[in-house]
Symmetry: C2
Subunit: 327 residues, 2 copies
């Protein structure tokens, strides 16, 4: 082996090692990646002034638009509409009754005008009046077969690879990672262990009420057509208080619904990390912000980012790839 | 060293080893201790038919009367009465106003007649209209100084040593241990890490509503004088569903308020463990059961125990010692 070959091998080895050592290989170097690595170092290095004992290391992640794709509509909305189509066979009257008629006719204008009451009726029809075990099975069956309209892939493949690396890094550093989502808690729990390595008990979300019932076949929890909790905006710190009982050290969101969660994360003295994913990549995913109904990133939120020195993640600039299946 | 000395040393060594190997040294041998050890073996031995992966190992413990002493009144009731006395200095009108008058005069007959509305007023006066951080500090200050009327010790020393050993054994075997109590979630969380090695996020209980507020000094969660959730009876499986999202494998309780939690634990096929502490030790703690208002162990509950083959723990027979400070 001559000197040149040896040098090339040594160089390849250095590259391979550097890649193996990088806990965030899908992130481009830049302020976002650096903010994450700095935070992890400050919170977990024994000799750091901001060292936090493992038991207190809590990180929270919004789900829709932060961990997985929320366009062209929330995945749970797609689930709701699909369920209406499936259940329509047993409800011939829906062809002429609102709000079901608009869903069956895919009348987007009428759907947009449904209002809170119509949407609530769609949600309760598809999410309530069954046991928790029955609902779990319906979600599992649906998520296995449903496909995203643009990417033609299961929704569970439309999770952001760079964010999976952040979850993985934080877990490796002793953090308890939670989802704190406006979405339904029992719509997420059936699949979050497999997809995010986040167990059901670390998923916080919106919920409907349930009721314990003893049946001849054994006890069940019945899902009632009644809102229990909306885990959005000021509800996110409330949900965190209820489920976790202390503010997190790190929070990741992407929209105005996450502002209060990031504020609440910042109350902790010492090491903390507040980040917002900005969807500015129309080519590889979607580009949207202040004018989007879904995942609104308002001017007010951007002003808050500057005022409180939070970090914005640019999908276009900060992420080498968005989904694992992309080259 | 002659043979006899060698034999004695060997014998002492065997005893010492046996004791060191016993994960439940405060338990007398008997069906209760055996039920725990059998369950742990079945659930966690790799070659067991009922092996459960670590991520699914959940165990739940009622608090009052199961992990710590609940007589002559719930600890949280003692806290409430003490707070009324403390706050009375700023409320001279309480001397002549119910329900406060009865508390200040220690008029037990009047207190018993207060009814739900009077009790709710006492609880909200002492538990609401402050931030979560303020309430946490009040609880911590109180629990450090308050003493049990019979044992003259801090309430946090009146935890059952045999139950601490069960928590410790289950944790060592990969179980996530939860408290599921009718008591206030934020009355327990400030001290459960230290006393039970159970972190705040694994404490489920009754709660009042909270509201997120941004103040000039930063965000707070305000405690509102409004019930959010009562974690008792059928509420316990509901709380478990809400916080954990799957039934536990093991449940420990002591009263009719725990029946549904134990039923819900039993829905899991394979290894499970349902146990109820029976307070039958007037000498070392208290003896009470079906006629007690606090921690009622009704005849119906005892019938359910037999029907469903649950295990009753007799404090008198099964526990070598009750509290760590006892000989």
């Amino acid at each position: 082996m001559n000197r040149t070959v040896a040098a090339v091998i040594a160089w390849l080895f250095v590259i391979a090692t550097a890649q193996a050592d990088d806990p965030l290989p899908s992130w481009n170097d830049g302020p976002a990646k650096q903010a994450i690595l700095n935070f992890v170092g400050r919170a977990t290095s024994k000799d750091s002034e901001s060292f936090v004992p493992p038991a207190e290391r809590i990180a929270v992640f919004d789900n829709d638009g932060t961990l997985w794709c929320e366009q062209p509509m929330y995945v749970q909305a797609a689930f709701t509409f699909d369920r209406i189509h499936t259940l329509a066979a047993q409800h011939p009257e829906w062809k002429t009754t609102q709000p079901f008629k608009s869903v069956l006719e895919a009348d987007h204008r009428a759907l947009a005008d449904l209002g809170e009451r119509g949407l609530a009726e769609l949600v309760m029809t598809t999410h309530a009046s069954m046991t928790t075990a029955e609902f779990e099975q319906i979600v599992l069956d649906w998520i296995k077969t449903a496909r995203h309209p643009k990417f033609k892939r299961p929704y569970t493949e439309l999770v952001y690879q760079p964010m999976l690396e952040v979850i993985n890094l934080l877990q490796a550093k002793g953090f308890k990672t939670y989802i704190v989502s406006g979405g339904g808690i029992e719509f997420m729990r059936p699949w979050t262990s497999k997809v995010y390595n986040i167990p059901p008990e670390q998923v916080i979300g919106s919920s409907i009420k349930t009721k314990y019932e003893m049946r001849p076949t054994g006890p069940v929890l019945m899902r009632l057509p009644e809102i229990n909790f909306i885990d959005d905006k000021g509800g996110k710190p409330v949900g965190i208080g209820q489920f976790i009982g202390r503010p997190p050290l790190a929070a990741f969101g992407n929209s105005t619904g996450d502002q209060q969660m990031l504020e609440w994360t910042q109350v902790t003295p010492g090491a903390h990390l507040m980040m917002l994913v900005h969807h500015d990549d129309a080519e590889r995913e979607y580009a949207y912000g202040k004018d989007s109904i879904i995942g609104t990133f308002s001017d007010e939120l951007m002003a808050e980012v500057r005022k409180r020195k939070w970090t914005v993640i640019s999908m276009r600039r900060d992420w080498k790839k968005i989904f694992a299946f992309q080259p």
